[in-house]
Structure formats: C-alpha cells, structure tokens
C-alpha cells in the first residue's frame, strides 16, 4: 500500500541566467526564499559577467595571488576536481575560447563577433590555477568560467541546506536529498522517463541550447572550439549534482564511441542523444 504523499513546499525563480526550482518536505516558505537569496548572492560573486565579482577579480589579477571567499575557494577546488575526474575535458580555463566565439556577455544581451581563428586549446587547469586557504592565483593571460560546475555545486549545497528531505534544481543541474514526498525518492523527469532520486544528483549537458548560428557554448578544451563530438545531449544521474554535471559534459565531449563506457564507470543512469 502506497502512503499518501507528504505536502511539498516549492518555489520557482529566475537566477544564474536560468530557471531555478526548490522543493522540500517539512521546509518552510521562508527557508525556500532564503535559498533563493543564497543563490542570487553567491551568483553575483562567481559570475564572469559582473565587474564586481570574485571570479572577474581572479581573471584580471594578472598572475598575482588574490584573496577569495570560502565559497569561491571551495568552488575552485571543485573545478580542479572536475578537471581530474574528466581527465581534463571539463576545464574551467576555457574562457578565452568562449570569448573568441563571441560569448562575451549574457546571451540575453546577444553575442559579439566571433573570431574562431583565435580559439586555442585550453591550458591545463592544474598548470595555471593555484589554490591555497583563502587565496588563489591564476596565470596571466588565462581566464576561468565556472559555468555548469557552479550550478551543480550550488544545487548540492542548497539541497543540503534546505533540510533532510529537499530538492534543488538550478537550471537542470539538480540534487535530491532524503526520501521524497512518498518515501520512494524524489520523482524527476529524466530522458523521457521518471526516475526516483534519493541522495543523488542529475544534470544535462547539451549543444542544443545556448547556440547561435553554427556555434554553441560547450567548448572542447582540446581544440578550443565548440564540441563536434557527434553527441547533442547527455543526461546523467550520479552521486551529486556536480558529479552528474561533470560526467554529462565529459561524455558529451567524448562522443558516442566512448560515452557509454565512461557513463557506465561513473553514472547511475544516463541518456545519450
């Protein structure tokens, strides 16, 4: 006999340039609003589009050590972990390539002229980024874009902050904690089906969105150009939202020949298109 589901409090909002949704059982409306505030406040510090952000300060530090907040330090360490987990394919140091293809400002403001001939393979993140407690250094001439890593990382933390039974979805990068409304997990749409996630994350990486003309935002660090791997979209369920984001992006960049094997080693479920 299935128990009647517990009431779910939810809240939708726009932030990080995308749609965000928070859900919780036994969570107050105030907690959800505090969650939105946390996303907005941290988002302004880690965006590459805001002059006053910590990330812009790091990108412009010209090889000097600068102080970073605890959240920024953790996020940079997560970017380094993603680089290692993906064997270098998820590389936050692709910013120069993103600028070269015209992704210089939020896409709602439009792209600028692309200069793909200026795109170069991204440097190894491990070679150009140094992180110590409370400070970081990026080699001169390099730039970081934390993109999807930040959304997955934030979804992981936000879901845990909301309580023992909650779900945070930040632009498709999501994390579910606890048993969900019916003690069977949180029902999440995934690859045309519904999967019940419990203490798991999910993410989708795609070249179908954020694209203009022949270009799109998903850079292959091996070439410095938009990915042309043969895969259009990959969705993944993994232990956390950030892991799911890293595995999905890595699989998409690997292409159809290797994506299945990589997902089988790192994911709990996957959908390739």
């Amino acid at each position: 006999m299935r128990l009647s589901p517990a009431p779910v409090e939810f809240h939708h909002f726009e932030a990080l340039g995308t749609s965000c949704s928070l859900f919780g059982v036994g969570v107050s409306r105030t907690q959800l609003l505090q969650g939105e505030f946390w996303v907005r406040e941290l988002g302004t510090r880690i965006t590459r589009f805001s002059e006053g952000s910590e990330l812009v300060a790091l990108n412009r530090a010209k090889g000097k050590w600068i102080a970073v907040s605890a959240e920024m330090e953790a996020l940079l360490r997560e970017a380094m972990r993603a680089f290692e987990l993906s064997a270098g394919l998820v590389n936050a140091a692709v910013l120069p390539s993103m600028i070269a293809i015209g992704y210089t400002r939020p896409l709602v403001e439009g792209v600028t002229t692309a200069a793909t001939k200026e795109a170069r393979p991204a440097p190894s993140l491990a070679d150009v980024l140094q992180i110590e407690t409370g400070r970081a250094k990026l080699e001169s001439g390099c730039g970081l874009d934390l993109g999807g890593i930040a959304k997955g990382w934030m979804a992981d933390r936000l879901a845990a902050q909301l309580g023992p039974n909650a779900l945070a979805n930040l632009g498709g990068d999501l994390r579910a904690v606890g048993p969900g409304p019916s003690s069977e997990g949180w029902p999440v749409g995934f690859g045309g089906a519904t999967v019940m996630l419990r203490d798991q994350g999910a993410a989708t990486s795609s070249v179908r969105r954020r694209r203009w003309g022949e270009l799109h935002h998903l850079i292959d660090p091996r070439t410095g150009l938009p990915s042309d791997s043969g895969l259009q979209e990959v969705s993944v369920v993994a232990a956390t939202g950030c892991d799911a984001e890293v595995v999905a992006k890595t699989a998409l960049l690997l292409g159809p020949g290797l994506a299945t094997a990589y997902c089988a080693a790192h994911a709990a479920a996957w959908w390739l298109s």
Partner: protein, 72 residues
C-alpha cells in the same frame, strides 16, 4: 686448439639460434587484422545513442515528476 673449438662451437650455436629464431618469428607473424576478443570489442562499440540506461542504483517511477533535468 681445444679452446678454439669451444669458441667456434659457441659462435656457431649462437648464430644458428639467432637465424632459427628469426625464421620462426617470420613464419609466425601475428595477424594484425585478427578480430579482437568479443569483450574487448564490445567496450569500443558505439553506445545506445538515444537510449536510456539505468543501473540498479536508480529506480523508475510511475508518478508525475516534480521537476526534471534539462539543458539550460
């Protein structure tokens, strides 16, 4: 004289072994075009593009989803 014969014998034996080994290897070249073993071949095949794969760690549900993962 005896030492010379020993040296000569060792030299002939060494050269003979070398020639015989080369002849054997040449006659038993590994076929580079031979098919890989099925398990190895399977790991290199293109995956089920367009398909959904779930391990036992994920359970499919029959209730409407509260949200979904998507590209943004």
């Amino acid at each position: 004289m005896r030492a010379f014969l020993l040296k000569l014998g060792a030299t002939v034996l060494t050269l003979g072994t070398t020639v015989a080994s080369a002849a054997y290897v040449t006659a038993h070249l590994k076929n580079a075009s031979a098919p890989l073993q099925p398990t190895v071949l399977a790991s290199q095949q293109v995956g089920p593009v367009g398909g959904l794969t779930m391990t036992p760690g994920v359970r499919q549900g029959d209730v409407p989803p509260v949200t979904s993962t998507y590209a943004s």
